[in-house]
Subunit: 470 residues, 3 copies
């Protein structure tokens, strides 16, 4: 009989007894603070509909690209994990079979953040008592299905149980926002985030269609560049009225550079009439990022910029399964030169706030911390994606705090689609940041009496203040 | 009188008592596993001839570029270390004088992996009891010479004493392979590795001559591109028949890109007729790497790719002493874009396996771990060269495991020319990886009951399975 | 009532009891060694004049760009910190008001090296007993003003109290050097360092004016390239006669490449006659760096090269407040290819010594340590600027020692304008390096009996030998 699978109450903490004592004490002070979630990908419909979360495989395996990629890398076909094929080809439709494959390969997650999150989620939220394995896969499936059928596991009930104070979603610029309005009327603090990539980046396939939708949604004719800008401003206003405090932008590189107004207008016309080339498209995308910054300085929406992922690296997987299934790979980033034109104009503008996210850790200490340690408008976003992990967080704090200080960081965000894992993710950050502070305290580098304030800042305050959440 | 020079039985382990206990226990489980050596540079003749290993200086100083470069960097002339000059100029010919210079400068190795390996080798294998110094240089020389004259220190006797299960050598594509056949007949598991750089890279001076030799060795006329490809395939077959399971490739950059078949054939003709330019040469080398990948997918030989060294950086040293004397310097690497064409075609091919090695640690977490955590064909090679060190290994595990998991790593290889140091090198890896796992265990991030399996995987299983060793 | 603000006697040391014991013991052996300061920016006039150091704000806040940038990044205007505007616009003129703003924001320095240095300086040198805060700002100001009025806080008195053995300043190539001569006559070992950026870099605005001054100061007519070179050599001789043992060079990139002599002369003529373009300027600057190296090989002045800062990144701040106020941001560096021409010619020249400094930590292990571990002329400079911090030093030692060894490092330099902080900065380095060595000792990787010698090398010997200080 297997021993019971348990959570170490001191997980993430260094083993040194003195550091552990300080870490425990700091963590006790922040463990139960409400969760501030300023950036993530939970669909608002999940909470608006409040339907049961579904079977274990459809909830925990199929939509989680961290899980899918790891199994795929070790030879499990994505079809066998139930990922729908774009060509309508066959995929596994039996959730139990998918779950079994996941359990058979559970050892692959040893030492990964996915393993850490899953363990906490399974034990704390779902009362699982054994590590998943080929042997217990079926029993576990039944156990989880049982729990998920319980109304206590409905999304709205979990919102409270997880302790969420505010949850920001990520929404297309053309989103009708009706769900957010409804949720707020029902008393759930779910805020939209303005994500205009599809409408401002003409290098995308869906740009034309998105522009049509933008015109429709905004009620502004998008016949020329002026109309385009007005439509965007109308949508930003609608987002603000629906509770948004931030925008979000993904880009391959950080080049943000204004075109001359006439050039911008002429480029827009070329784009719309199909006479634009690749250079036009790239320059217009970069210009529109700059315009989003200008509008942020005006309307106060905090601008988030995520840079450096080569999306859909594996063409065959993209063609068969589409985006966001684990085939996005980072590249080296450059910030110092790329952001200079933007910061020249807005780096000290009190209305402007820019939160930067990188997948290139070598830029933390070399570029991002020095930038954030100078420009009033800048804050450093939480460790992103592959680096939302125990060691990733430690390297982030190691590389940024000495140069930028604690107060130029943006706190934490969970960036997740996996709604039930939210608490586990914040828990890791709170533990790691408390342990990191404890390490500084026992080395005499941070005064012990100020450490609790810093721990609370990292766990709660900085996320709220950075994102201008009330 | 100096105190006795001893090995710390807990060397490489963190000092924290709890972590040390777990590390010890994990290491106890792997310490005596046989050594799997899937990549290295021990000359097969060493074992085939089974001649005495020579005097201490000729064994431990002259051929070890780690040793030579360190002494050279502090002002010791390479001539004075006995390195033969290509122009026939004088070099120190007295091994005892060379050994004395080495001992006088032994303090330079404090904190380096060379220091760690030498210490273990001298104490464990050669029963040395004092740290080398100017004072004891002569006595040490005599002591070592004594040991080396003993038949127990012959290469074949050491093979057993070192506990080698399988030793893969690195061999020119034109190698006759007779020594490997003989060694296997004599019961020594020494396998060749197909290293075709000289025949597939026309940027090298020796390309023309190597092509002639390739034709001779393969028995295939290399009159045109088709013949060239057939000759290569014939040699790959010969290597497989002689026990090879892998190929090895060194390249300045990771660009691997097929030419159109016609273009490849025409470029080959231009190269052979002396009408090719630098661009032709570079493109053809990149194409042939891609072709090697294609053949690997067919014949199952595991492909190793080592990228990012600017060879013979110091021209004067190269001109006087030739290659591989410590003047190779790394440059920044790029993998995400460079490998995309190759992985598009073969990244999910079940016959293909590619093991990647880098000298640019910033690519571990940014590019290599995300790639290996997605593509089924990829495995991450062991920390290479300058990073085959205690801290290099720790940074490697820190930067890769969270993203790629343990099971997308390729285990360890010693990559050494220094035959008697093999055990010390594996010992460091086994200690460091056990200590790393122990750190995860005491922080509650890896379940203690699975850690022994992971330790064995890193010490033994992954090297065998990655390299398809039976 | 606040508890007394005290220094942890074990600050910077790891908490593990065994490591801490070894670290303490190593630190005891180096704590009181005299300070060797081979590179810094203390104005020689400070010591020559020996005037009182001024009020607390003018001493500790206004001129310290680490302090200014952190407050500025959190919304404090530079005017309100008393920085003089170039346009003569109003700036805060009340030191007490500036000091109050600093104290109100003191929490921003938690976890930063500035916080560590200030704490030690305030407590050890100025007997402060409370952490600065809004509440105690005025009392602290009075306390510090009191101390600063005491003759014991005059620069010359502090020279002794800080324990400085030798202090090297950084001086324009056109500096008259009279102050250094005077200081040496008065028994203070203050040496100049030849910093010719203004005269050898025609990309600078002040190049023309600097050339005129060079001619005047050297007494050599700078009518053509030959005269220019002779004038530089004359100044180098004057610096050597005034006690200089080193030169210092700042460059955006490490490209150092000779022009053909004729080309250099023709370019100089074009530059002087206003017919040069940007390419000319860049190539000539690179050529003159190479010439500086050639002269160093001749006259033995140790060459320091600092690479990789994009100066005055924030144009508005530069225009309003000028250089060196916290708006310089690093970029990625490349050394392997860039230094090859220089090292080809001088890398093994016994007269030449080159000390390299980087702001791109990814080059420590990838390029700089391999280069320094081979070329006799190279030494690795101390962790620079943002990396002159506890974690920065640890990463530096982690990334360089295994490859380059201890003896290819250049020891420490404080690089500071903040004269009273010198001791605190050396103290951090000595503590961190002792703790780092202790970590290697308790892990069995450095023999305990050699560690004290290594600690002394890092604290004292290497700085002296690298910079050829007698």
């Amino acid at each position: 009989m297997p021993t019971r699978w348990t959570l170490d109450p001191d997980r993430c903490f260094d083993p040194d007894p003195r550091q552990r004592d300080v870490a425990r004490s700091l963590f006790d002070g922040v463990r139960d603070l409400p969760l501030v979630c300023p950036h993530g990908h939970v669909p608002p419909a999940l909470l608006a509909d409040d339907a049961p979360l579904g079977d274990p495989a459809t909830l925990l395996v199929v939509p989680d690209h961290y899980v899918v990629r790891m199994l795929y890398s070790q030879g499990v076909a994505m079809e066998d994990l139930g990922l729908p094929r774009r060509d309508g080809g066959a995929s596994e439709s039996d959730p139990r079979a998918i779950w079994r494959r996941f359990c058979e390969h559970y050892h692959l997650f040893a030492g990964t953040p996915t393993g850490v999150w899953l363990k906490q989620e399974l034990i704390e939220l779902f009362d699982v008592e054994e590590r998943p394995s080929a042997e217990n896969a079926d029993a576990l499936f039944d156990h989880l299905a049982d729990r998920l059928a319980d109304p206590a596991y409905r999304p709205r009930a979990l919102f409270e149980r997880l302790g969420v104070e505010v949850l920001c979603t990520t929404d297309a610029a053309t989103d009708p926002l009706a769900l957010h309005v409804q949720l707020q009327q029902d008393g759930f603090m779910v805020r939209p985030t303005f994500r205009p990539d599809a409408v401002i980046d003409p290098t995308r396939d869906d740009w034309e269609a998105s522009i049509e939708l933008l015109a429709e949604r905004s009620g502004v004719a998008v016949d020329d560049y002026d109309g385009f800008v007005q439509a965007l401003q109308a949508r930003r206003t609608a987002f603000r009225e629906a509770g948004a405090t931030a925008t979000d932008h993904g880009a391959f590189a950080a080049d943000v550079r204004w075109l001359e107004p006439d050039t911008a207008a002429a480029t827009f016309d070329r784009l719309r009439s199909g006479r634009a080339d690749a250079l036009d498209r790239g320059r217009f995308a970069s210009h529109m990022l700059a315009e989003m910054a200008r509008m942020s300085a005006d309307d106060g929406l905090v601008m988030q910029l995520h840079v450096g992922s080569l999306r859909d690296h594996h063409q065959a997987v993209f063609e068969r399964f589409g985006r966001d299934v684990g085939g996005d790979i980072p590249v080296a980033a450059e910030w110092t030169r790329a952001l200079r034109p933007l910061l020249k104009r807005l780096g000290a503008d009190p209305g402007f706030r820019l939160v930067l996210f990188t997948l290139d850790e070598s830029t933390y200490g070399r570029e991002l911390a020095p930038l954030a340690g100078h420009y009033p408008a800048l804050r450093l976003g939480a460790p992103w994606w592959f680096f939302d992990s125990v060691l990733g967080m430690e390297r982030y704090l190691d590389a940024t705090v000495e140069t930028a200080g604690i107060y130029n960081l943006a706190g934490f965000n969970d960036d997740t689609r996996a709604y039930p894992s939210i608490r586990a993710r914040h828990d890791v950050w709170r533990r790691v940041s408390c342990n990191w502070l404890a390490g500084r305290v026992v080395r005499g580098l941070i005064d012990e009496d100020v450490a609790p304030t810093l721990a609370k800042a990292l766990a709660y305050d900085l996320a709220k203040s950075t994102y201008r959440l009330p």
